[in-house]
Amino acid sequence: MSVGFVMLVHEALNRAEQVARHWAGKGCPVVIHVDRRVPRAEYDAFARSLSDFDNILFSTRHRCEWGTWSLVEATITATRLMLRRFAEVRHVYLASGSCLPLRPVEELIAYLEERPLTNFIESVTTEDVPWTVGGLDSERFTLRFPFSWKRHRRLFDGYVKLQRKIGFRRRIPLGLVPHMGSQWWCLTRQTLTTIFDDPDYEEYVRYFRKVWIPDESYFQTMVRLYSANIESRSLTLSKFDFQGKPHIFYDDHLQLLRRSDCFVARKIWPHADRLYQSFLSESAGTVTRAEPNPGKIDRLFSKAVERRTRGRPGLYMQSRFPNQGWENGKTSAQYSVFQGFAELFEDFEAWLGRVVGARVHGHLFAPERVEFAAGAEVFAGALTDSAAIRDYNPRAFFTNLIWNTRGERQCFQYGPRDNQEVGWFMATDPNAQISVISGAWAVPLFHSNRDFSEIRKEAARLQKIESEFLDTLRSPWAKARVRIWTMADFVEAPMEPLQTIIDEIGTRSAHRLTAAPRMVSLDGFGQFLQNLKNQGMHPHLMGDFPTGIATVQNRPSAGKPYLVK
């Protein structure tokens, strides 16, 4: 009792020869089908090179085209030849020219010996198949496909569309339940002969001739008619990417393949010398009976597919530049934006750094220079503090900054004096935590020693900018976690809002804040606002600051005014 290999060969004949030699040398009969498109001379040389084996046969050649019946036809011809000529064969293993045995044949034989009646073929109903390409699953069985998908894609697509439109459907022969699965199977003589000897064989063939990609469905469907002993998995390790084309194995996959305990893998890059050398020269020491375990390889390839389809969030590079709305994460990590805090508190940055243990920058978008933490001139990723470079592409600057500091939360100050180009970007980014004390920009003006007319003009400008930013933050498209307080509300009770923000950042301890940052003196600020009003400007973003009354925070308790336990 033994296993026989049917090989479908299209290219890299030298590799197919090596593998055929390997199997035949171990006493397993091999029937090879060579694609008709391989030139005559090449085929002859190939056949001659294997003529020293009497258990290698060549079947009638067919012209094979991907996605068509010709592949199944080639398989049937070769399999029939195998069954006819090698009576001792119990399992037929369908392989391709770019397959490589990973374990000694003896182990495969022993494995099959223990399961003499089992058919190994992946066979799943169309509803359960997630991997079809181009949205064709059940329609593979009900439409007609006279045009080549590879050569006449437009005609192919057009004809499919037309059939959908007019509601054309082929009739599926009675009793058939369409199943699909990997093209590479290992079936028993019993099952195969029942398929081929069925009186309705011709009718089924007629039907499948016009099915799309029948090599993934003919045997997969037919076995369900005749055998109850089906292991729905392929013994051949074969992975597909998101376009439905097989992943290729290279020399650097050697260890991974070895540890997979699969019997055969495809597809192997023809120039992967080390793989061919290692796996074909290995002789069976002690026959291990390990079950195939392709888990690691599965993970490797599913990660590759994910990288190709989803990518790394927040990364912009030469091969990933998502259209708006398709970023799958505009930035790579969460960050906090503070507007008005540094103006209202004297030592806000230092205080915040102590409390949350994150990187706290000054005004990153300040007009003079980029105020990196600790006054650095260069920061992560070699970003410089040049305002000109930053303003040339503020969005790139910003996404770079967040990307470069993955693993460390960034906090920075923002305000109406700063470059506003990233405002919309941040507001629509779910990674952003934006806290605004509106109107706090007036405090530095209040403390500045400038002409009042100048101050009035600047105040009007800043108020306009901030109010536009607030509109952005309140727009229905904003996705950031936004908190806005008027300055009047905030100074009334600053601890609670601060606590909320810090809790949300949640990097360090969960305990209550004990020390508040020191607020700047606001004596006379109300009068200052009144003066602005008297000059005809209307400062409204601060909320209601009563004129002349000393504001709350200036009670004499200087040390720890808001000690809350």
């Binding site: 084309k245 290279y250 389809t309 790394r312 030469q318 530049f321 970023e327 410089t384 592409n393």
Partner: protein, 336 residues
Amino acid sequence: MGAISSYRLRLQRKRWRIRAFRKRRELTAVNNRTDRIAPGDILVFSTLRNERVRLPYFLRYYRNMGVNHFLIVDNGSDDGSAEYLQEQKDVSLWTTTHSYKRARFGVDWLNWLQRRYAHGHWCLVVDPDEFLVYPFCDTRPLRALTDWLDASSIRSFGTMLLDMYPKGPLGAQPYREGQDPFEIAGWFDSGNYMIRKNGKFGNLWIQGGPRTRAFFSDNPERSPALNKIPLVRWDRRYTYVSSTHMLLPRGLNLVYDEWGGEKASGCLLHAKFLDTFAAKAEEELTRRQHYANSHEYRAYEARLRENPDLWCRWSEKYINWRQLEILGLMSKGNWA
């Protein structure tokens, strides 16, 4: 993209092709060994001038990668570059003393040679100071990549030019012939690149890195482009438009994914900043043969007198392609 602008680009492509055809007369074949090019060979195309000291390592690097033939235009070297190249069995050499600038910085010459010899081949267009790094380049030859691109129906492979620089003043460590330039210039900027999309040609326009940081901080918009598409399965109808930054037909420029995914891409390590740089910059400035009135070289010159150090505290030391991939400077895409 409307029919009219599409047609305009078609006309433009034809114009560049005609121009390349006219410029063919400026080239004199010194050693045409192109009859040795076999079907499926991978080709390198390059224009150079006075790069003798760099050539041995350049040729070795790409030979080891699996490049089969080099097609090189020598633009009037007087340092023995041409003589050296003539001795190499896998190099076909053309010379010209015509204007580099008027051949659109060598693009016309190479467009012609590619049209003539590269049809159906994968070809790589690089300068002698550009070294391709692609995913798995330490374990898989270039042919593994091109075979995979073929199987995936991808015609062009995108990269970013990654400027490499030494630690310390540029002139401090002299470059010896045959030496790996990245033993000296082993540092790079990992995350200060700025990207925009070029609506007309559909390519990305990337700027940034140490050159922007050190030489163009006052007018960053003039800093050189770093987007490159050097590896293309060539067809005689294709043409490069501007250096290897972009091509026509414009579909070839779509080497990036727009729907959130990452396509496979590489880097061109740029060994420009060696001790040879100051002399080169001075020469180029007097020749005035470079892009946009050589403003790039003028910017260099101003700074070079101070013998600048491009290195900074956040510079990264180059290790391998995996490091670049983790930093997000290139991607494996779905190649695994």
